[in-house]
């Protein structure tokens, strides 16, 4: 089995290439995805090799991207849409929540919209406004959409292909600050044997506190776990991977063991994923909890200017602080 060391961004690129190779109905569309290869180069080289009918530079209008992709899907295509940055998905919000999410239901199952909407999301790259947001809650609250996020190159490579192969409409959140992080990728492993798309996974086993994260925060939590281990505390870090539907079996099992849970995400706290996780865990593990489920999140402010974003973003220390607090309760 060939294992290559790839960045997360390159793993996505190779995964997209595989998807284009494997199914002639797959088309990539978005702003600057062609010659430029996307502002993050995730589609680098694909237009050159697959042509401008498979990798389509679109006019600058997100509603148009998603709306025309719906039409292509009705026609039998499998569109993979790139939204350039998290903060630019909102012009397409109506097409996503009222059309993409609802057409299968509206048709009583007769129509499928097998669309993937790729969104580089999250902060930490020193960008200007609208380039660092975490909109997952907006989509997870929307029935009819599935939402996933990858946290390492291996998952990036596999999950993008699984998402494209799935008939469900999927919001695919890419942890943009991790695009340049490297890891091993089994590039030849058959997709059918891969870990399922809509399943959480223990990223690091532990016994004391369950820490839940996804996307960019998985690395942060793994680092926190390393630090905690030095202090003699074993954190179990779970990479949620699928944000809607959540896969909580492994989480419940873990929390019942540890009695403590901390949820970490960059998005604001109020009515975020952390709230849902806290509510579900509490309902399921009520008699096991030694402390309430605590949340370590971005604050309930707009994403701030770059020079204070490190204060805004959950980091190792804030995760450890919350871990501590689950003991003091």
């Amino acid at each position: 089995m060939a294992t290559e060391t790839l960045t997360l961004g390159k793993a996505l690129n190779v995964g997209l290439r595989r998807a284009l190779e494997n199914d002639p109905k797959v088309v990539i569309m978005g702003e600057d995805v062609g010659k430029l290869g996307g502002v993050f180069r995730i589609t680098d080289g694909l237009q050159k090799d697959f042509g401008d009918q498979r990798v389509i530079d679109t006019p600058l209008a997100e509603s148009g991207i998603i709306g025309t992709a719906i039409g292509l899907a009705i026609r039998g295509y499998r569109p993979v849409c790139e939204i350039q940055f998290d903060g630019f998905v909102y012009p397409a919000y109506d097409q996503i929540v009222s059309q993409v999410a609802k057409m299968h239901y509206r048709s009583r199952g007769k129509l499928k919209i097998p669309m993937v909407i790729r969104i580089p999301f999250g902060g930490g790259i020193g960008a200007v406004e609208h380039h660092s947001e975490s909109p997952e809650a907006y989509f997870a609250h929307t029935a009819g959409l599935k939402v996933v996020s990858c946290a390492n190159p291996q998952d990036a490579y596999v999950m993008i292909q699984q998402a494209i192969a799935s008939d469900d409409p999927i919001i695919f959140l890419e942890p943009k600050r991790r695009y340049w992080e490297k890891g091993p990728v089994e590039v030849d492993a058959p997709l059918a044997d891969a870990y399922p798309l809509h399943a959480a996974r223990v990223a690091r086993p532990g016994t004391d506190v369950t820490v839940l994260a996804y996307g960019p925060m998985v690395r942060t939590c793994l680092d926190a776990a390393t630090a905690a281990a030095e202090d003699g505390r074993e954190l179990e870090v779970i990479d949620l991977r699928t944000l809607s539907p959540l896969d909580l079996g492994v989480v419940y099992e873990s929390v019942k063991r540890t009695g403590r849970a901390v949820v970490v995400h960059e998005a604001p706290s109020n009515v975020g994923l952390g709230a849902e996780l806290a509510a579900r865990i509490t309902e399921e593990c009520f008699y096991s909890l030694e402390s309430p489920v605590l949340r370590v999140t971005g604050f309930d402010t707009p994403y701030p200017a770059a020079r204070v974003e490190e204060e805004y973003l959950p980091d190792l220390d804030r995760v450890l602080d919350a871990v501590d607090r689950t003991y003091g309760w």
């Binding site: 679109t58 709306g67 719906i70 097409q95 048709s107 199952g109 599935k146 799935s166 539907p245």
Partner: protein, 394 residues
Amino acid sequence: MAKGDPGVTTRGRRAAPRSKKAGAGKAGDPELVQLLTPEGERIESVTGPDGTEYRVDFTDEEYRGLYRDLVLVRKLDAEATALQRQGELGIWASLLGQEAAQVGSGRALRTQDMAFPTYREHGVLYCRGIDPIMPLGLFRGVDQGGWDPNEFKFNMYTIVIGAQTLHATGYAMGIAMDGKTGTDDGEAVIAYFGDGATSQGDVNESFVWAGVFNAPMVFFCQNNQYAISEPLERQTRIPLYQRAAGFGFPGIRVDGNDVLATYAVTRQALDNARHGQGPSLIEAYTYRMGAHTTSDDPTRYRIASEVEAWQAKDPIARMKAFLTKQQLADADFFAEVDEQARRESVHLRERVLAMPNPEPTTLFDHVYPNGSPLVEQQREQFSRYLESFEGSAH
């Protein structure tokens, strides 16, 4: 009227001066393509602003067929309105007054063409040969459409104003990508929308896209003069068909109460599209004779005399006058059509009344093609909850 390819010609070339300029001789609107006056006079042919000559050469049978279509769709529509009044439908969006715009464009479609309607194109649906019961589940509230757009070459009704124009454009891009343009067998798309919809970002984005990708499609705007209560002046200060020029493709205004002109103009535009000549916009100038929907009260915002003025331009009356004058049809024929319409509407009514209410737990069906554990869990919990009442007075 035979479906597929009725014996009609429209010619996409510079015409000799024997044909009139669009609407020439008509008072008020020099820009309107018209082949049948409100009085039922035929205009032999009309030359559009780009020199295209519009004419129809229907057989007698086909003329009668168009009349039959008009009467039938009006009658079925009236039946639906009645059903709503009696509480059998939750709401109804009537096409009253817009029959010619819908029958003319609907009959202009070829079998292979794809239509993207709003919520009002019952007449187009009928002309596609689709059972008129199909959309009534939506208005009765037993489903939200529930059909396969590809099976009927007719998308589900779209309620969010303008959203479907982008779907239509994407679909048309797909036709081009599939190499299905350039011949007589080429495919084309028609996207329906209203005058109000022209203000939506989505509709204008679809104009951008269609222009850039030279999409094989026709934007068919039924300008019925109102978006609920708002008159046309709230959406534009120039005629709507002129919008197209700003995006680099042709726009034309047709008398939307003239089934012949609407047919000719739409047929030409679709054929241009299928031959790879790209998009165009048709503004069918018409009038919404009834309320916006059965929930609306138009007396609050428009005066009776306006409605009366449009009454004189009725699409069916002029077709009847034409058939009568030309001795293409007699009283027996008109009686027979009315009888057919009555029969079909009774049949429709019976089937609407027989529509079963959905089972409660069907609300959990078809949220995702691949299902979802969350939804399944809720379905099970709710089923158990419902069962807990069984046998009780609930």
